[in-house]
């Protein structure tokens, strides 16, 4: 066990959030809750990345008064990566929700166990 666990509380919280989302994904049988779990996992990863780029005592990377020294701003790279990720995650969510609607119109349930039972009953 290293000594930086309490200094890295942000990363620790993101790890816990990731595992909560993963447990949701494993244990919930409702499709909508599974999708929410996946979104929570997404957010945990973004939190981890943003914590990586954060430097205490510095401000956001928006240039004020032409100060371009590296001592003044936090790391801009994780912000850019997470910005990409958030927008991709919303399209992934829309895709999953539309698949859920299709499954519901076919099987009239959101429970994954019942869907698979009905599938096997039909002999597929």
């Amino acid at each position: 066990m290293g000594q930086n666990l309490f200094a890295n509380y942000g990363e620790a919280v993101s790890a816990i959030l990731f595992c909560i989302g993963f447990t949701n994904l494993l244990l919930q049988t409702n499709l909508i809750k599974k999708i929410i779990g996946l979104n929570i996992m997404d957010s945990a990863i973004y939190l981890f990345l943003a914590e990586k780029g954060y430097i205490a005592g510095r401000v956001a990377p928006i240039v004020v008064d032409n100060v371009t020294s590296t001592k003044a701003y936090i790391n801009p790279i994780p912000s850019g990566l997470v910005l990409t990720g958030i927008v991709v995650s919303v399209s992934v969510t829309a895709l999953m929700l539309s698949l859920t609607i299709r499954l519901y119109t076919r099987y009239h349930t959101l429970d994954l166990d019942e869907i698979s039972t009905q599938l096997k009953r039909e002999g597929k």
Binding site: N4, L5, A15, V63, T70, P76, T84, S91
Partner: protein
């Protein structure tokens, strides 16, 4: 000239019998082997019913998920294992995190020369005050192009999954608003005041993407949210006056191809060490930072259209 044979005479000849045998019209065993008389096939109703019943009974027994002891045990084992696995994963991640360099310090390996270069030269090379906008739309613009295409492809996939034809669409629209009050006065009045404000705020975010926090993605999402509010208040009839599939097609086509062409130009000039004719402008002015402002507008248009299209397709399967 030979004499014509009668039919009876011909049937007695060897050639006639040979050709009949050859073409299979005559069964050589008929009358010589013991045979059962043939009859038409009739399905056995009882056997079929019995078979179906047995099949159902087996299926009920196999998929009787509530009384199946083994399935119940497997579910319990699955739940226990997954909780244990997640606890183990938490412990593993926390141990790993405890060895990472402490939070908020400069000496972390993430803060390397790439970030320093972006901060030091970003203002000078891209002209954008917001270094993140300069990074994602100038240094890493190819990334953002892929992201816009991800949105476009997601819209197409949702359209494939949820598309309804004309009559189904009308039915869906009727049943969609069945449980809602039509033309709700409070909602419409609030929307009349709020929608212009929301859309102007979105436009402000897009146009100020290089000067402050914001940019194409967030501004586009705000404009999309404003359009969704307008749609909820006034219904599809009003929105279809200015936004249909054709609008979506042309807006996305022009935005994405403009993005491609603009970045191709800057890649070409950058790779061949040519002088780009696009002026950088003074940092801080609204018309500055070269291509970042038009690219922000293109991305914002794509995102706004995509979000409205998602909502419309979820509501009635088409837009």
């Amino acid at each position: 000239m030979s004499r014509k044979k009668t039919a009876e005479e011909y049937q007695k000849t060897f050639a006639f019998r040979f050709f009949r045998w050859l073409s299979g019209e005559k069964d050589p065993y008929i009358g010589k082997v013991e045979m059962q008389p043939q009859k038409e096939y009739q399905p056995d109703q009882e056997a079929a019913l019995r078979h179906e019943k047995e099949h159902d009974a087996i299926m009920d027994k196999v998929y009787d998920t509530e009384h199946n002891k083994w399935l119940y045990r497997f579910h319990r084992l699955y739940q226990a294992t997954s909780i244990l696995f997640c606890l183990f994963l938490i412990a593993l991640l926390l141990v790993t995190i405890s060895y990472l360099p402490p939070n908020g310090t400069v000496t972390r390996p993430v803060n390397n020369e790439v970030a320093e270069r972006y901060i030091e030269k970003g203002l000078e090379e891209t002209g954008a005050v917001n270094i993140v906008a300069g990074m994602i739309l100038d240094y890493r613009a190819f990334d953002t192009l892929g992201e816009s295409h991800v949105l476009f492809v997601a819209t197409i996939t949702v359209l494939i999954l949820l598309r309804l034809n004309k009559t189904e669409k009308d039915e869906a629209e009727v049943s969609d608003r069945r449980f809602e009050p039509k033309n709700d006065a409070i909602l419409q009045l609030v929307a009349t005041f709020l929608v212009p404000v929301i859309i102007i705020f979105g436009i402000y975010i897009i146009l100020n993407g290089h000067l402050g926090p914001g940019g194409g993605f967030s501004g586009g999402a705000v404009i999309g949210a404003g359009l969704v509010l307008y749609l909820n208040a006034f219904g599809f009839k009003k929105t279809e006056r200015f936004f249909t599939e054709k609008t979506y097609k042309w807006v996305c086509f022009f935005s994405l191809s403009f993005y491609c062409l603009a970045k191709s130009y800057s890649f070409y000039t950058g790779a061949n060490k040519l002088h780009s004719v696009i002026p950088k402008g003074t940092p801080g002015a609204i018309l500055s930072s070269g291509l970042i402002l038009p690219l922000n507008i293109a991305v914002g248009l794509v995102v706004a259209c995509t979000i409205y299209a998602f909502y419309a397709m979820f509501r009635k399967g088409g837009f």
